[in-house]
Homo-oligomer: 332 residues x 4
């Protein structure tokens, strides 16, 4: 029997990296070869994140030493990822990058939202890692830019309308659990701050906006407003769509059936999509409603921000890249 | 010294009635004379709701016996309130009705959303009990229809834009704590159902919609979508406004200053308005933002759904009706 | 290849039954043949509990029709289980009973705490389904009485001390998530009631007490006080033990090592055992501390009340009964 | 009319200081003269803690400048408080110290738990600020050591038993909301860490232990174990008492009636004492139960850790010190 591809998770001490490591450790088709972290080198990952039950010691990243793997999941902050990705690519390692560094095709757009880009030459090689939109390209890619959690939900919610010509004016009101803010303790992640309140943030300018617009295409301009809600895991986007004049809103259900009937990880449901139902799974659940008084379509989508919104989607992409069953190691 | 007006709270075993009773019991300008409930007659209110610390026994409502009071707060469900209000008004009691029964001026609109009206003759007498819009009329009213919690927040958020001609297309995405669903245990209020999720409900048709449209005027049509969030008390409305063509969005701050600079219970703030900051107070906190990429205005407003959204607002109205200081008994 | 044993889950609409059905549906060594419920017959289980993703329709239980299976998991309330278990045993079906009906060996003790027993003749056949204590007997049993969630944690916490002669006076202060109270909406499971508080209940007389005392043996008398805490899933027991005079508390660590070093689903850890670390797993995590000022031992144990505390433990037992790997289908 | 005593709150940017400032600002009998903080000087307190609605700017503490007040509430960490308290006392300011620095009468005990003492000469002047035990001494004190939150609840729960000779062996299992851990963001206060779990901490050695033992007297040794629970405000202590041989447990109810029937801020209740019922109040609620099988008494007490557990109790003490009604400014 052939050996399994060996995979490293860089930045495994954060929430996203830890989930990726946990999934790869129990994955029948990959071998988790290394886990790295900026601090905590020498500590076992299951001491930092017992839930992973990964007995590997965290290592300090070294491009030469760690380049012996077949693939790497890079769980670094925006900006910090690009040079590491470049170093890995130079050494022939296939990469899933969880940061925003390679998601935007247009360098100017990237730099307008994030600042100078650390490896612009690679921008053209990257494939946006949303399997439901770019399955074939992902399979052949050496660099996959894994989507952000909000874009995953928003794009899956709206892409069928975009394709069907039903996507006019769009407002996206998103609600996210606190794990989306990362593991670092701040005023904004303190239990007392977060409990019994809902907090909008980055109003009128969240960096996930251009990603959503890029993937929806057609020059769509969205107002995207995230809110922090008092829960740990999960994310809901509520999308308010005014179809273009003359569009037939009645075509919406057909657009979703066409898009998702054969998708293993998208569930289109009648009632409100339940965040608990996708927790610790790779599923995205979507429901589509209309408001007959105003002619609007209202679309909800929910995911686990750390799974389909980040790390289980990375595994889904890895499965595609290494010609495994797309759902291997992701069984709910 | 003149005796204080005597007030009864009907339906004091529910969340809203209990808060009204608690506030009136400690109010220096009123005497809480009676508390009634459909069940639990004979039980003291502080046994059912210890937080109120109201030592009065719950009574079964009797129009004749209880009509000796000067005013009544009626905390009955929609539909059940109208006949009781009518009975009280016939006996000369001034009424604050917390239900929707007298909020809509137009009987047909009421009946389209709620069914047959139980006391249509009184519709013309009722004043919509939002002091920031109708202070003078409330002072002279014998029947005040206290607004719903969502309309209180939404109307306070949007009325300044409506007055300034800035209110075009409107989407309202509301987030409410579970106390808004009432005290009755249901699948939808079970802790396990509500925790770690956000649930949109009554999508495309919540009954609070016509109230909001009536008070904003100008033929405004709003898409209003409430969501249940895992917290007990409080409510946030996120309002997305596309101003009419030609309107000057830059006039918005001035519109809010004009509307609220002199209001004791509305705070216009810079950052996101904090739900914890209004908990168990009569305050509404509002913040106004713009999204320069799309030209939209984004307005947030937050209240405690049981206080400014219901029962402390009822006390504010009672203060006006009996010529007391509007803030008496409401000090935060 | 031989066919997998066929298993029915009776009472699959409740929380515990749903978890059992979910685990069996994805279990490689069993076939989930039937799911039944008192109501909702005809509805698919994944409509009632989407998280299970079990596409089977709920059926009304019929002893003759459903006795074609090899085994049944009975998730009925105390008292209601006994006659159903008897009917299944008469027809040769091996049973895991999740209720308390067959946990106590002594009929008089059962009847003192629960009332008349519905199938006393079977009491002698039942094996207490805690694999760490009764592994061999479970493998050979036709009727396994699956422990309650509190006893699972408490017995695993204290059995090593009992065996080592270190278990003198015992106080158990337990904290449980709300799912332990079942799916039925009540005042006590309402989000507003449960949030921001901790509520002791059944003080001085919880029915799980005699089970704990039976399994610890030696005439131990425990004070057991459960508390409801504002979380959905999970349970912690804090055990305060005064060793008998002359006992050597320093022997405690060795007692735990002896008991659990080879156990696949018990983790003895240094720090406080984390409830999140066992969520949706079959693990029990234990930590042992001493209070040198008073000579007490303090032992904490945590489990997911619906998994190791109920349904994944039932699968662990089924694996033993059908000679599968004890951990099959339970991988974390 | 005489001028109100002027009071400063030192350390007003923390949770405890902010509550003290809020209560003093609206107190009819005191004037809040200054609020200080180590950082944020120049910022208004209502910008840092809007809920206080205190419009004063935070100042950097200066002993000479701020000594013009009649009294000061010192909300500093343990160790940091002592020198500031000494500086204030030298200048004749009456002090309520919220830290542990003056709670223990015995210097050696203090230094065993906290390290070197910064102002040992003042230890003999300090009165332990629990009005229910030391009302008269507080009224005459110039330095009041306000109790810790756990001791407040534990001592109120157990003092009646101690007086009645019913306090033998004692286990205290405490559950506290996250605000008790202070405002600083840490791993241990991160929402994701705290949610859906219960975490014991400082097992076998929490610094509040000696305070409890001092006030209960009689050489009592308690095992005290605090747990962090996923809620923001409030605290419950569950006390397990084995009365001394020969003591009559049946005398317990009378002991509580004697102790608390005339206390304005202690409520002895039948059922479990509700944490929500004391939220943002100065009340302590207590219930007393027995476990006839083991002969134990089980006593629960609940308070708001920031109110009766800290800052409203400080106001209660200030009222006593300045001969005001003990409940002034504390109305629930």
């Amino acid at each position: 029997m052939a050996e399994s591809p060996r995979v490293a998770v860089l930045g495994a001490a954060g929430y996203a990296g830890a989930v990726a490591a946990r999934l790869l450790h129990r994955h029948p088709g990959f071998e988790l070869a290394h886990v790295t972290a900026r601090s905590d080198a020498g500590t076992r990952l299951d001491a930092v994140h017992p839930r992973t039950r990964v007995p590997l010691a965290l290592e300090t990243f070294d491009a030469d030493r760690h380049a012996e793997v077949d693939a790497a999941v890079v769980a670094y902050p925006h900006g910090a990822a690009a040079p590491v990705v470049a170093a890995l690519r130079e050494r022939g390692v296939r990469v899933i990058d969880l940061s925003a560094d390679f998601r935007l095709h247009d360098r100017a757009t990237y730099e307008a939202w994030y600042g100078a880009h650390g490896a612009p030459a690679l921008l053209g090689d990257a494939v946006y890692g949303l399997p439901e939109l770019h399955r074939d390209a992902i399979a052949n890619a050496d660099l996959v830019a894994n989507p952000g959690c909000y874009p995953t939900a928003a794009i899956l919610a709206l892409a069928p309308l975009a394709r069907a010509g039903l996507l006019g004016d769009v407002v996206i009101d998103a609600k996210s659990g606190v794990s989306g803010a990362g593991r670092e303790p701040t005023d904004g992640t303190h239990f007392v701050t977060v409990g019994e309140t809902v907090t909008p943030y980055k109003v009128g300018g969240h960096r996930h906006t251009p990603e959503i617009e890029q993937e929806l295409g057609g020059g769509t301009r969205v107002t995207f407003t995230p809110h922090l809600v008092p829960l740990a895991h999960g994310e809901l986007v509520s999308c308010y769509v005014t179809p273009p004049a003359g569009a037939r809103a009645g075509d919406a259900p057909r657009a979703y059936a066409d898009a998702y009937d054969d998708e293993p990880w998208v569930e289109v449901v009648e009632g409100p999509p339940g965040m608990q139902e996708v927790r610790e799974t790779n599923f995205c659940r979507i429901s589509v409603h209309d408001d007959p008084r105003t002619g609007r379509l209202i679309v909800f989508a929910t995911i686990d921000n750390l799974w389909k919104g980040t790390s289980s989607q990375a595994i889904q992409n890895l499965n595609l890249m290494f010609s495994l069953d797309e759902s291997e190691g992701l069984v709910a």
